[in-house]
């Protein structure tokens, strides 16, 4: 089974390694039978999806693990065809409406109608509802979110929604208020270390606590990342040595290089070079907000405290503009130019 991250993914609420109280609460929720709409949110790599799948299994039994990938086509009003990949079992369907781009409203409505219009056949032994899992709800357009609002109420007898998102701030408050919000916090470093060590045990390899901690720390408390880099380290070199480098993702390294370029020289020429690097990052499908965020993180490490607040503030401003516009390169460059200007002024004041 594939990568360790998939291979050792817990499939049962009982088997989850951390946030145990949450697991217990969810179990109670299922057994109580009154299952509300849910909104599961938390940072990436915290185990939202894993927990939702465990929850579904708790609801419907192991049958929910028989997944099939379906390619569904929708017809837009302008007669264009739209293909969406859904992952479904007999009891639930999962889709990422933001794949549909501007037509996400249509997809959400169509799918929900389709699912909700059919009742479960055997309501005695089964749940009376199906579950629709919508991922990346924070990327839904406002239209789609409004559409969702109405649909949620309309079909509540036959289907429940589980919405997954990183942050609730981009979800309309009417939707938030219709859902039971469940926050999945990121695992702490010791929790990650425990997980890594259990994986190592199952794989039959030995890993020092020290090395596991290093991996956990470099992963930004993202368990997926931690397990993946653990496996990468295993493939690259085993047995582990204590000072073995932990490979970061290539794009992160690239962002770090970019940051050092920015810190090295503040000039239009450098800005031009940085633009090229930004284009490179974007063309590698790295989302622009993630670029801004990681760039800010890297820059924060090496600037004076007096600049930090301003930097974060501007990063937020430009990230916001990013959402308003359609060409991320403009805003990335504006952010870099802003920082260059700030940093240059700061250095001049210092008398460099």
């Amino acid at each position: 089974m594939a990568l360790w991250v998939d291979k050792y993914r817990p499939t049962n609420l009982d088997k989850l390694d951390y946030n145990l109280t949450l697991s217990k609460q969810l179990k109670h929720l299922v057994s109580a039978g009154d299952f509300p709409h849910m909104m599961v949110y938390g940072p990436p790599g915290a185990g939202k999806k894993t927990r939702v799948m465990c929850l579904l299994r708790e609801l419907y039994g192991p049958g929910v693990e028989k997944l099939k990938v379906e390619h569904r086509t929708f017809k837009t009003p302008s007669d264009a065809k739209l293909e969406i990949i859904t992952i479904a079992s007999n009891y639930h369907i999962e889709l990422n409406p933001s794949d549909a781009g501007t037509q996400d409203r249509l997809v959400v409505q169509d799918i929900l109608k389709e699912i909700a219009s059919s009742h479960q056949l055997d309501t005695q032994t089964q749940r009376s509802f199906k579950v629709v899992v919508l991922t990346e709800v924070d990327k839904l357009s406002k239209d789609a979110q409004h559409a969702l609002r109405r649909t949620m109420e309309l079909y509540v007898s036959t289907c429940r929604l589980i919405l997954l998102c990183n942050s609730t701030s981009k979800v309309l408050s009417p939707i938030r208020s219709r859902c039971l919000g469940i926050r999945i916090p990121a695992p702490t470093v010791p929790e990650i270390v425990t997980v890594l060590q259990s994986i190592a045990r199952k794989e039959g390899i030995s890993v020092s606590g020290d090395f596991a901690t290093r991996i956990a720390e470099s992963s930004d408390r993202n368990l997926r990342k931690a397990i993946l880099s653990f496996e990468a380290c295993r493939v690259q070199q085993y047995p582990f040595v204590s000072n073995q480098p932990i490979q970061k993702a290539d794009w992160e390294v690239y962002v770090e290089q970019t940051a050092s370029e920015i810190l090295g020289e503040q000039s239009p020429k450098c800005l031009l070079a940085v633009r090229g690097r930004m284009y490179e990052l974007l063309s590698h499908c790295i989302p622009a907000d993630i670029i801004i965020k990681s760039l800010t993180n890297v820059l924060l490490r090496s600037i004076d405290r007096s600049l930090k607040i301003e930097l974060v503030q501007w990063a937020a401003t430009y990230e916001h503009r990013l959402q308003l516009g359609s060409k991320p390169i403009f805003h990335l460059e504006a952010f870099v130019a802003k920082f260059m200007s700030l940093y240059k002024r700061y250095r001049l004041n210092l008398g460099y």
Binding site: L3, N222, Q236, D250, C285
Partner: protein, 1112 residues
Amino acid sequence: MLEPSQEDIAAWEAQYDLASLPAEAEDPFAPELTYRRPPPNSVITRRLPFDSIDTGFNAEAQTGPVDAAGAVSSQNNTSGLPAQTATTTTTTTTTGFVSRWPRKATATEDVRFKRSRDESTATDVQAALNSEFGRRAPTQSNSWNNDESTRLMGGITAYEPEQDDPFFDNPPDFDEAADQEANYYASQADPPPEFDDLDVADAVRAFVDDQRGGGGRTLNEIKRLRRDENASDTPEMRKLQKGALPDFLEDDPAPYDDVSDADRAEEEEARRLAGLPPIQEPRRFVSKGAQAGANTRPAVVVPKRSLPTGPKLTKRPPLKGDSMSLLDRNGDMWYVVLKPKPSLQQQQPLHERMSLPDAGHLLPEPVSVMMARLDAQRVAAVYHHGVAMSTTPVKKSRPSQPESSQLWVEKYAPRGFIDLISDPGTNRLLLSWLKQWDHCVFGKPRAIHFKPPPAAPAFKPFPASDRGKPGAAGGFRAAAGSQPQAANGGGGAHAAAGRKFAATAAPAESEVPVKPLPMQDPLDQELFRNRVLAAVEMSSVFGSENTLPNCLIIDEIDGSSAAAINALIAIATAGSTSTEKRATTGKAAKLRRPLQRPIICICNDIFARSLQALRQVALVVPFPNTSGSRLQTRLTQICKAERFELEANVLVTLCESTNNDIRSCINTLQFLSRHGKTAVSSSEIARLAVGQKDTQRGLFLLWEYTLQARSLQQLLRSANDPSAAMSAKDSKLPTGALFGESNAGGLSRELSRGRRLGFMDVVVPMITANGEYDTLLSGLYENYLSVRFTDPNMVKIQDALDWVAFYDQVHLHVYRNQMFHLMQYLPYTVAAFHVYCSAQQRQRLKFPKQHKDFVQALTQRQSIIANVTSGCTARVRAFLNAQQLVVDVASPLADVLSPNMRPITVQLLNAAERKQLAAVVDVILSFNLSFEQVRQFDGMYDYVLTPNLLDVVTFPTPTSVRRKLPYPTKQLIAHEVEIERLRQNAGEQPPALTPSASSSTVGHAASGAPPQPTRQDSKRAPAPNMDLLLGRSNKAPMPVKVEPKVVRDFFGRVVQVIEETSNPASMDASNHGPTKAAAAAQNALATFVTSYKFQEGFSNAVRHSVRIRDLL
């Protein structure tokens, strides 16, 4: 020229509304009407055995209620003027007409005009008649669609003199001989025609050609041709001489063959009575077409030479003056000497009679003398000023006469190479290029050494490879097939730079007939191909022996489709070595003949997408803008010729305001003259909205204005000084005026108030007119950082980028919510760039392509990611979306896929390595990846991950220390993956993921060749395939390569017996004990014919020796 079919004729007749003609028209005796002429000229009359309708005119003369023609002719009669009417039918258009000057009314059944000219002659004469009668009200409603034909048709409908005025105004040059002839005609007391034959005939012919659609010549061409005929050295002339008149060298015309002596005597007698000289020349003609069409439709005009002023016939073309060729019944060629334009004195009586404005008679000296003097002056001017003055365009216009409706642009179009005012270097280049074709078209020795200009980057030198043509001398001849066409284009901005005229004049200079092929219509590709081929491979039907090859000119080629261009390229490059291989099959094989004719394509936009491929094979001749001084010289000439007085600086202003657009300048002049102005000041021109096209400024120009203060200053200077009189004072950029509130329309008002115009007044309207905001902005965005404006703290950059963010926001809003009224705010972003980022220094601006490249790379990688996510198994997919894949998973995955493994065969790997290999294979399969062998650029083969996730992961600068797998390792992995995939596809249970099982599975499966070392049961280890087939026991699970799959019959039903052996159950059984499995296998073997099926690549199995014992 095409011969009209009988259907055509019928159609024409129907169209000409013959049925509406009065019954008398059909009367065979109708021609007798013409005998009502005064006696002096009607010497001989002949009965016309008409079998068809003719004499529309005469019939009308009798019966028509408003028949002005008849009225006039009778008036002629009564006034005793020697006017005569000839009645005529032509074979094609059954029409009647009246001869212009006295002619004997005659028609013979055997005399016809040469077909190609008959209509023109008929209409020519009719037009003359019309002109004599001046304006006439329409006498008969006519159902013709074509006004032109209506007008030209036998005096039936209205005649509009304006339409024909060009012919009045365009007399041919005539010389002394012609003059003498004119005098001769004049001596016959004959009311001279007001205009010459030539032009009318030409017009008619041009018209007729037009009517027939395509391939016709324009009036100008015909005129040129006629001029050439005067030199009697044109192809047409030659072919006529050669084809139809072998004895053209004879001085004396042949005697009549078919006119009886009696007839001639009668005629002589009549002439004698009339006091006319005796007949000297033949007078019977048979139209060629009529000849072909037998005698069913006889009756043609007979302009009898016996009449004093009838056309002069010669057996050979006259040395001077114009002529018209005719074919008599015997196929002999005759030439009618056309009457040149008579002098003004000769016109006088006619003028008087027609009460037309007099053109000033009683000249102090004969016209010929004046003309000669004019010529001398012109020669002197050329000699002194070195200015290529027009040889023809300067013509006299009669100020008192109604203005010609002909456009001056047409009227003063260059008639020859020397008339061109476009860049002489370019013209010469074109001419020398054309001359190069002499070598392959005419086989002339290569005279000019053609050196392509270094400035023409798209020029591709002729391929050096010789195709071995006989007599090929050097590369040129050999390259004839791939001789590049000239794509004639001016970088987009220069409209009316004289491309077309240059393209037409150059072939004319080298005596090559021109075949114009306009491309405005979206042509079907096949049709287009056929037309091009027809133009370059065929030639005129007449006198095919000695015809000159064509030069094809394709106009407006930038509007054509890429398919058409491809067809053109296929024609142009046919036979060249590069395309030879391609053209071996199918349709393309037909094109293998190399192109032998020059093709000139004219376009505005050489960078049009459809022309991309053409640029590679063609010589690109960019036409620069016409130089102002040359244009002004020409405009001065035109003004002089039109007696339109303008100051020199007016012309300068005009040229500047139109950006040296020839067409626009001339049209403006004509417009002004039409308004009755005789003097125009330059300020008037400047304020005139006329003549200023709504030209699109190019993107580069706008970028320059925005980012480069210097070019903007130039622009503003001219904008602020429309009269260009004020001294150029450097204006500081009025940054304050930038956000001023002047609209484009009120510029002159603003100016008059004394406010100086700024960027916002001048450039922003240009931006709005251009409309390509996106490209404009991305151009600025990609260039602004290389502009050296002072910005020590990078504040300006921030501000500019704030504007860009605004642009982005508005743009998204506009397109997402269809609020297009917000688009009006977009140009101001460009203005902001000007405010913040413009600099004095000149900087080379680049066309934006970064964003395009980015989008391309992005889509490519997005498709990779989409492939990965859609391909991976549902279990993986459920926890993976595209963003997670890119951000979190891809890099570690790439690390996992490059394990540290010795590049040796599977058998030699130790257990840990096998385990690792199995894990890698497993991961690859779960993401549905594979290693595929791809040929690299250097010809080496390599295994590439497909979909290439590594492309998504890796960056140009080294970002990780990820090891690169050596080729053998990749090969190993690829092999394992394939086997594993086959196994899974075959429906076999995937091996349990316990390390031991997977490793041994993999190990065994991979053993293509040597047997596993762990195997113990048999020394002579057979190949895995054999093992399976024989049910040989094996500790490891059975190999995959054989078909353990369910055997099915043709209809897909499972064959029961075989199932026993091949299903997994029996596989499992084989694990339990060798005897049981062997028994099962033997059972199976007993039931079906022994057959071997080998997977490819396992050749050792083929050679294996099998003992009969094993099989039984």
